[in-house]
Symmetry: C2
Subunit: 213 residues, 2 copies
């Protein structure tokens, strides 16, 4: 049988459950979305499903470093769903501002379609969670976003900066894009800036630290 | 730089944070552990990191179907970490009882090593969470385990049962191994048994439903 037939069979027993199963099978496609970041051992690029797992787990172990106004469980939920729209819209590279703006309309439509597979109350709940993340409208969303910036930085640095080098990324770009890490943890941002300086010293990032302004 | 150098650099700034970063980089290896299940489109086998993401997300959307004594956030946390031991012990196929028993000692040592990368209080907390899952000692752990049984069943069925066929799995085996789904949701188990009957009807599962006892 296939996805469709399985959902129809489930719907004969329990329509609410069938809608949830439909969603679970649909989001499997996130495992096919390939990101720019390499795995720590440099062997291949990361996909967005495993990236999302890594972020949620990072929230779990960084929770004691979060501010008191962060809802840790909610941050985990956000990060599990934050990139589902990439199933339709693809992964827009964080350093490609044009692609990111162009993706926005596609992402909104994707959220409608994908969360819309669920029963209405659940669709509204997850849609609201995604919107909160997109808007960074709460301390929880800003903490989640900080983790979404920190993890690729750690992966890129630990795999020798290949992803930065291959894409011609400059030190100032990484600093600007990742500054929201400071909203998650001042110490994490202190570590990140040290990492980026060392990466620039070694040529893994194009060094524009002393460029004339 | 590499994983080790990055952690040493972080430790100069903040030893507690460096330990957490060490753990985050170490668990990246779960993306290399390959399971028997195929993705829904049948294109390749699933890895354990993306499997863990899929389970945590399934908990999120199946939460309204969980019993009142299930702590949903805790079930998500459990599923994010439940297979980390596979980094050292590998994935023991659910239908290979001998391999599963042989893996147990390796898995216990892996839990010691991997959770032990974290600060002591965090290591104890995650070790306890993993132990609760392993023992199925709470309604939350039994719900999490039900999801861990349901997701591969859905993937295998939706991808045409190739994983069952190739491994010569019988209907009675799948029924026995997956019966704990009923602890998570009676409706989900009703759907699962219908799926398995259809799979046996079509030869995706070896049909021993009417074998002499």
């Amino acid at each position: 049988m296939d996805h469709r037939e399985l959902v129809e069979l489930a719907a004969e027993i329990d329509a609410d459950l069938a809608a949830r199963i439909d969603f679970i099978l649909e989001v499997d496609k996130l495992k096919h979305v390939i990101r720019r970041s390499l795995l720590v051992d440099g062997s291949r690029q990361e996909n967005t499903a495993e990236h999302s797992w890594h972020l949620a787990l990072a929230v779990l172990v960084l929770a004691p470093r979060a501010g008191p106004d962060v809802d840790v469980a909610r941050a985990m939920e956000m990060l599990l769903i934050h990139d589902l729209v990439e199933i339709d819209a693809g992964d827009a590279y964080i350093y490609d501002e044009e692609a990111r703006l162009a993706a926005k309309a596609l992402e909104d439509a994707a959220a409608e379609r994908i969360f819309g597979l669920l029963p209405a109350d659940e669709a509204a709940r997850l849609g609201g969670l995604w919107e909160e993340y997109e808007q960074r409208s709460t301390p929880t969303a800003r903490f989640a976003y900080a983790i979404d910036r920190l993890q690729p930085l750690l992966l890129n640095a630990a795999s020798g900066g290949v992803s930065w080098t291959e894409n011609g990324i400059r030190h100032s770009q990484v600093l600007a894009v990742n500054a929201p890490i400071a909203d998650g943890s001042a110490a994490a941002w202190a570590v990140a800036t040290r990492i980026l300086d060392l990466a620039a010293d070694r040529g893994a990032l194009a060094d524009d630290r002393h460029a004339p302004t």
